[in-house]
Subunit: 177 residues, 6 copies
C-alpha cells in the first residue's frame, strides 16, 4: 500500500514515495521503454534504487507517486528548483501497461497547480525527446509552450536526438484557468 | 497505543510522541487540509518523518500528542524557545476528522499552563493565517491577544496571505486564571 | 583594506566581509551600545567571531560591510531568507563613532533595492526595540510600515521591552520609487 | 528471482545484479574453470563478494546477469569506460553447466548494441587467453577483430600465456548490421 | 604571475587557474557589471572564492584564465559536461576594463576547438541574457546558432528576463572551419 | 634542486620526485605538445598537481625525474604494476626544449633494467600514438616489439588515433644485453 495522499485530483492521487514502492520504481526504471523515454542510460539495481531514494529524501526536489486508487501507475516530480528566480523542471513517467489512460496529463496538471499556487514559482519547464510524441502531447495539453529545440543533444538508439524544450509561465496558467 | 501521559486535562491528555505514532503523524502532515494550515509546503515520506522525529528528540523544542483517551487526535508543541528573554512559540494541529470538538483549545490551555508554571516563560506567541478562523478562535479563547498582522507574508493557494501574530504574557494569563 | 564592492551607493559601498574585518566586527559586537541594540546578550571572543564568520560563509544569509570610501562603518545583511514565500529580515548596526551620519539609512535603501530587484523577494521585515528611536527612524525613512508591537518580548537593562515589527512589500517599494 | 530486465534478447535477458544473486556469483567466480578463464587468481568469500557488489554499485561500470527465462546462467558487463575517447571493455563468463549453449554470444551481441546505440561509444575491446578458444569464437561471431597478441602477459597453470586483444568499432558494427 | 599556458591563441592564452589568481577572480565576480551578466546573485568573500576553487579543482568541469600576455583579463570554462551524450556548456566573463577588445570571442573560439578536437564532444551550448547583446554577439561570431528563448527565466534588476539558448554542433563547426 | 639519485646512467640520472619539482612538472603537463603526447586532456593547476603528487606518493607505481646533471628534463615511471603475472607499463615524457637529445631512450633503458633486474618482472609494455614517431623510435631502440595496433582508440586533434602497443619480455632483454 502506497503512502499518504499529498495532492488529490479527480482520477488520481499523488502520494509520498515510500520504501515499499521501491520494487515498483526499480522495475519500471529498468524497463527499456521507460529508460529510453527518460534518457537514463544505466541499469539500476535495488541497492542503487535505495540510494536514489535516500538522496532524494534529503534533497530539495519533490518526488510523488501517481496512483489510481491505491495502485501506483507512475511517478512525477520537480527537480532543479531555483527559488531565487522561481523556476523548476517537471519530469514524469507512467508504467507501460498504463499508457494511453491520461495519467501523465492528470498528474502534470495537478503538480503544475501545486507548483504555482503553493510554491510561488514563476515558471515550469520540461523536456521531451523528439520521438516522444506522447510526452509532447501531455505538455501541450497542460498548457506548456514549446520554447525551442535543443538540436541533437541526446544520443538514443544509435542517433543524436533533438530535445524539445517547453515552458509554462504562472501568468499564462492563471489566465488559462 | 500512544506513550505515557505527560500533561492531563479534563477531556484530553498530552502524551509523549513515540515511534509508533509516526504513521498517524505522517498521514496527517501530508493531508492537504493540514499542510495548508501549517504552511508546510513539501510532501513528507515515512523516512523524512522519522528524521524529523530523530531530530526533534535531540532538539530543545517540546512535541506532544493530543489524545482523547488513548486515541491520538493531533499534535501540539513549543518551538523557538528563547530562555534568556523567556518566550516561545505554540503550534498545533488537529486531524481533520476531529475538527470542531474543542481539542485544540483544550490542548493549548494545558500547554500554556505548563509553559508558564513549569518553565518560567514570560510570554507565548503564536501565528495563524488570515483564512484560518478556527485557529484564531482557539488562540483568543486561550487568552492570546493579537499583536499585529504580518501582511502578505505567506503564499498559499495562489495568493499572498496575511499572518496574524498573537501573544500572551504570563501576567495576563495569571490575572485571567 | 576591505573586500571588493558588491553594491555601490552615492555615499557608501557595501563590500564582502573578509577575514581582515573580524577585528573591527568583534570590537563592535562587544560594544555595549551595539549589543544592546542587537539584543545580542553574550560576549564574543575572537575565536567565536571567527566561528560566526565560517558559518556565515557557508549559510544562505547575506552579510556585507558598510563602508565610507574604504573605511568600514558598520554591517548589514539579510537573514531568515524564505525563498518559497519570498521574505527575509534586514538587520544592521553602525559603529557608535559614526552614528547620526545617515549610514544605516543609505545602507538599508541599497540593500532593499538589491533584495527586491535581484532576489525576487516579495517582502522585507525588520525589528527594532522600543527604545531604539534611531533604528525605527531608519526603517521608516526606507519605507517600512509598522505591522505590530511584539509586547515585552525582549529583556534589556532590567526590563521587558517591546519590539516593533516592520514590513515593506515589493509593490509598495516599487510604487514609491 | 533475479532483478528486472534491462535488455531483452530473443533467447536471453540481461537483468540487474541484486543482492540475492551473490550466492550464484560467488559460487561461480570460485569455480576453477571460471576463475582460470577470467584470470582472477584469488579466492572470494561471501564477504568479499558483497564488497565487490557494493563497490560495483557505486562505480561507473555496468554489470548485468545473463538469464534464460529467470534462471541466471552467467554475467556480462562493461568496465574501464573511457567516455572522453569513447571506448570500454566487454567481459563475461557463463556458468560451466551452461557452456556450449550460445549464451555468451547472445549476451555479447545484446550488450554491444546497447554500448554503441545508447552510450555513444566508438569502440569496444575485449581480451581472451590463448587457450580459451570458446571465448575467442564468441568475440569473432560478435564481429570483433583481433588487434594483436599480448605475448606471455598472464601466468596460468604453470605457464606464461598469450592474451589475444580484440576490438570492434562502432562503424564496423553498423556496417555489419 | 598566472599559471602555465594550456591553450594558446594568436592574441590570448588560456592558463590554469591558480591560488594567486583568486584576488583577481573575487574582485570581478563581485563587480555589479559582472555578477549581473552571470546571474550570480550573492556576494562572494575571499573564503567562499577559495571554496569554489577547491571544489572546482575536484570537479569535472574545466576553468581557465583568459590572459593577454601574462595579464589576466577574464575567465572561461566548460561545465555540465555530459560525456555520454557528448555536450557541455561554455561560460565566460571578461573584466569590465577590458570589454570591447575581442577577448571573449578569441577565448571562446579557442575553447570550442579544444572541446571538439580533444574531448570528442558533439555539441556545445551557451546561454545569454536578453539584455546582454555583447555576449550574444560573441556566441554568434563563434558560430553558435540560437536554438530558442527561455522566456522570463531569470530575474534581474526587478524584471523577469529572457535567456537566449545557443548551440553549436561539432559537424557545423568542422564544416565552418 | 632535485632529489637524490635513485638510478644512475651514463648521461642521465633518475631521481626521486620532490615537492620542489612540482613547478617543473606542472608547467610541462600543461604544455600542449606534452599533454597531446600523453593523451591527458584536462588542464592541471598547481593544487591538482600537488594532489597527484600526494596520491602518487601513496600508490604503488614508480615515478622518477629524468635529470641531466641536476637539471630536470622529463619524467619516467611504471604504472599498472601486476605483480602476480609480472608485468607493468612504462610511461615517460621529455620537456619540449630537450627533445632530440636521447634523454627518453637513456631513461627507458635504465628503467627497463631496474624493472627486470630488481623487481622480478616478466614483461614491460608501453603505448604510443600513431603520430608519435619519436616515442615509437625510443621504444624500438630500447628493444620493445610491436604487439598490435589498438585501432582508433584515442581521440586527438579532431580524429580517432591508433595506439601502437609494445611489449618487451625479460628473456628477450637478457638475450639482447
Amino acid at each position: 500500500m502506497p503512502g499518504p495522499t499529498f495532492l488529490e485530483g479527480d482520477r488520481i492521487t499523488l502520494r509520498t514515495v515510500e520504501e515499499e514502492d521501491l520494487d515498483f520504481l526499480q522495475r519500471d526504471v529498468n524497463d527499456p521503454d521507460v529508460w529510453r523515454s527518460l534518457g537514463a542510460v544505466s541499469p539500476v539495481n535495488a541497492e542503487q534504487e535505495r540510494e536514489w531514494f535516500e538522496e532524494r529524501s534529503e534533497g530539495d526536489g519533490i518526488s510523488l507517486l501517481i496512483c489510481d486508487d491505491e495502485e501506483p501507475v507512475g511517478s512525477i516530480g520537480l527537480s532543479g528548483i531555483n527559488e531565487t528566480w522561481g523556476h523548476a523542471e517537471v519530469g514524469y513517467w507512467v508504467t507501460p501497461d498504463a499508457w494511453g489512460e491520461g495519467y501523465a496529463t492528470a498528474a502534470t496538471e495537478l503538480l503544475v497547480g501545486y507548483a504555482f499556487d503553493q510554491r510561488r514559482l514563476n515558471k515550469l519547464v520540461a523536456n521531451a525527446f523528439d520521438f516522444n510524441a506522447g510526452s509532447r502531447r501531455v505538455l501541450e495539453k497542460a498548457g506548456f509552450a514549446e520554447e525551442g529545440v535543443r538540436r541533437e543533444e541526446a544520443f538514443i538508439d544509435g542517433e543524436f536526438v533533438d530535445i524539445h524544450r517547453y515552458g509554462l509561465l504562472a501568468r499564462e496558467w492563471r489566465a488559462d484557468d
